[in-house]
């Protein structure tokens, strides 16, 4: 019997492995494909990391290239994580798909397409974005629907207008790229998080890190359920370090409509509450910038950054459409950028709530010896980012080691 099995060889699973190795806890990392599998197969072609290169760091490993302010392309991310696996000598079993996990008297039985294994403790690092969340709406069959997980490049969409549903990092990036391909784009906007790429001459994620916002712990967050559901911020990593928000999309000619609420008589109906969504996002952005400014003064950093900036409020479209006839041919495809959720269909232990989320306290799952990593705000606001894996993995593996110490061997 193994002491620990880690499911998933992405940045989270490999971080867990590194800390397990440091504690000489024997373990295996099971990976359904190759190391960094989701980065290899579930991303669109042009995607770059949202975080600048200097922020790409894992426990005992960091970016050492010539462009610290740049943003990694997917091949670079894959290479980065694959090198980490090699450098950590992580005991990864690739092409080993977990088909079920069930409880035993001493731990867990993990069944895979390569056979069965037993372990005392389990770390689930299988990702937060395994499946696309697509609303149950009756879209006319002649409209081609593509989820953000299946989307690769504009060419894959039919000619004609495209509706991108969702305005997280994914939604705004795809709207931008598809618009540039010459297809008219409508973006349907629900609750969103607005961020400028640069603030006072620094990357906004430098501010998130330095001011401590990203280190806010899950126990200090007001409404953790809500905070864990927050969409990713409207950001894109480009060499030009451009801001990509709804104002930049509308300036380039993308049509902005409200939340896609229903389909009635073949017409898409959009919420009329767009203005309040803009107000909420603008207010939240201002509060965040206030936090940065207060920190800058308190820390003395205000001398080394540019002057305080405030950004133009999100502009209401001149005419805001409440409906779009899906049978008129105005749009020929829909790209769902409406979020993702983890896939636990293989987990035969009752630790998943009715909404499909793991029941856990800071990664300590509600089953003896079971742990999770790499979920939104698992232990800190930065939990799902590459550089967020280190602190979470350290603490989760520390808890795991404590659990083992209390168990008879």
């Amino acid at each position: 019997m193994l002491t620990t099995i880690v499911i998933g060889a992405g940045h989270s699973g490999l971080s867990a492995s590194r800390f397990l190795s440091e504690r000489s806890i024997d373990h295996l990392v099971l990976e359904r494909g190759d190391v960094a599998n989701s980065w290899r197969h579930d991303r669109w072609d042009s995607l770059r990391l949202l975080t600048p290169n200097w922020q790409s760091r894992l426990h005992g490993f960091r970016y050492d290239g010539a462009d610290p302010d740049g943003f990694m392309t997917m091949p670079e991310v894959i290479d980065f994580i694959a090198r980490y696996a090699v450098e950590s000598a992580a005991p990864v079993r690739t092409h080993t798909t977990v088909t079920s996990v069930s409880s035993t008297s001493q731990g867990y039985r993990v069944s895979t397409n390569q056979g069965e294994m037993l372990c005392r403790t389990l770390v689930i690092a299988s990702g937060a974005c395994n499946l696309a969340r697509v609303p149950a709406l009756e879209i006319p069959p002649k409209i081609e629907c593509v989820s953000a997980l299946a989307y690769r490049r504009p060419d894959q969409l039919p000619a004609g207008g495209v509706m991108v549903v969702g305005a997280s990092a994914t939604g705004v990036q795809l709207a931008d790229e598809i618009h540039r391909s010459g297809r008219p784009v409508t973006i349907s906007v629900g609750e969103h998080v607005r961020l400028p790429r640069m603030y006072r001459g620094r990357d906004v994620l430098w501010w998130m890190e330095m001011s401590g916002v990203w280190d806010e712990r899950w126990t200090d967050v007001d409404d953790i359920v809500r905070a864990r559901k927050l969409p990713s911020p409207q950001l894109v990593g480009t060499p030009e370090r451009t801001t990509l928000d709804l104002n930049s999309l509308s300036a380039m000619g993308v049509t902005i409509v409200g939340r896609f609420a229903a389909v009635r008589d073949g017409k898409a109906l959009f919420s009329g509450g767009l203005k309040n969504l803009f107000a909420l996002a603008d207010l939240k952005l201002t509060r965040l910038l206030d936090t940065f400014d207060e920190w800058a003064i308190a820390s003395g950093q205000h001398l080394d950054v540019g002057p305080v900036e405030r950004f133009e409020p999100t502009r209401m479209p001149e005419t805001s459409h409440l409906e779009l006839d899906l049978k008129s041919g105005e749009i020929t495809s829909i790209v769902w950028a409406t979020g993702f959720h983890p896939d636990y269909h293989w987990l035969d232990v009752p630790v998943v709530d009715r909404k499909g989320h793991l029941r856990h306290e800071g990664g300590v799952v509600d089953a003896p010896g079971m742990y999770a990593l790499g979920l939104p705000l698992l232990r800190r606001r930065k939990s799902t980012f590459i550089h967020g894996a280190e602190d979470d993995a350290r603490e989760v593996i520390e808890h795991l080691a404590g659990f083992l110490a209390r168990q008879p061997a």
Binding site: R259, R264, S271, G272, G273, N276, A279, L280, R287
Partner: protein, 184 residues
């Protein structure tokens, strides 16, 4: 913001407690609101509201309330009450205002006065059937709040935004809702 001293007359603790209880009892959260309407004459009708269902059982308001509705004299009616579409403004205004009070209380903000003006713009060629491209209902609703409170402008704006986010009537007005009308 002083969390302890603000008193807007909203029992926020009861609401927060209810939120916790209902997390584990979603069935009790299912409410049915009711109204009964009777035609008087012409465009005049009277609607009574008294009972509703919630927390698993029948509930009753302290008193029954009646609402007279009619059309104005310029529509060749008798103006026995406000027009039905104006009741939508009544509902929206009172819902957002209740929300402002509750959110302010929850955030420890003392309110001194909350006033709002509502304007719903409508092209009556829709209901008259003059032009089928014109919709029947409002094509634009504007709500203007004037709030005097112990808070910055930004905090007040955030309270009003949160009130919209949690408003039942705002939701019904801004989002499509299934409506079934039957004759029995």
């Amino acid at each position: 913001m002083a969390m302890t001293t603000a008193n807007n007359g909203v029992n926020v603790q009861a609401l927060l407690d209810a939120r916790e209880v209902l997390k584990g009892a979603p069935e009790a959260a299912k409410f049915t609101w009711r109204a009964s309407c009777k035609w008087r004459n012409g465009t005049h009708s009277k609607t009574d509201v008294s009972g509703f269902f919630g927390l698993g059982q029948e509930q009753k308001h302290k008193t029954e309330t009646s609402f007279e509705a009619d059309h104005p004299e310029i529509f060749a009616s008798e103006d026995n009450g406000i027009t039905p579409i104006e009741y939508v403004l009544v509902g929206l205004a009172s819902c957002l205002t209740a929300g402002v009070a509750a959110v302010a209380q929850n955030r420890g903000v003392q309110l001194r006065s909350v006033e709002s003006q509502l304007e719903g713009k409508m092209d009556i060629r829709g209901i008259l059937g003059v032009d089928s491209d014109v919709r029947n209902g409002y094509d634009d609703i504007k709500v203007t709040f004037h709030i005097d409170a112990d808070a910055t402008k930004q905090e007040i704006e955030a309270i009003v935004a949160q009130s919209q986010k949690r408003s039942a009537v705002y939701d019904v007005v801004t989002n499509p809702t299934n409506v079934t009308v039957e004759v029995v």
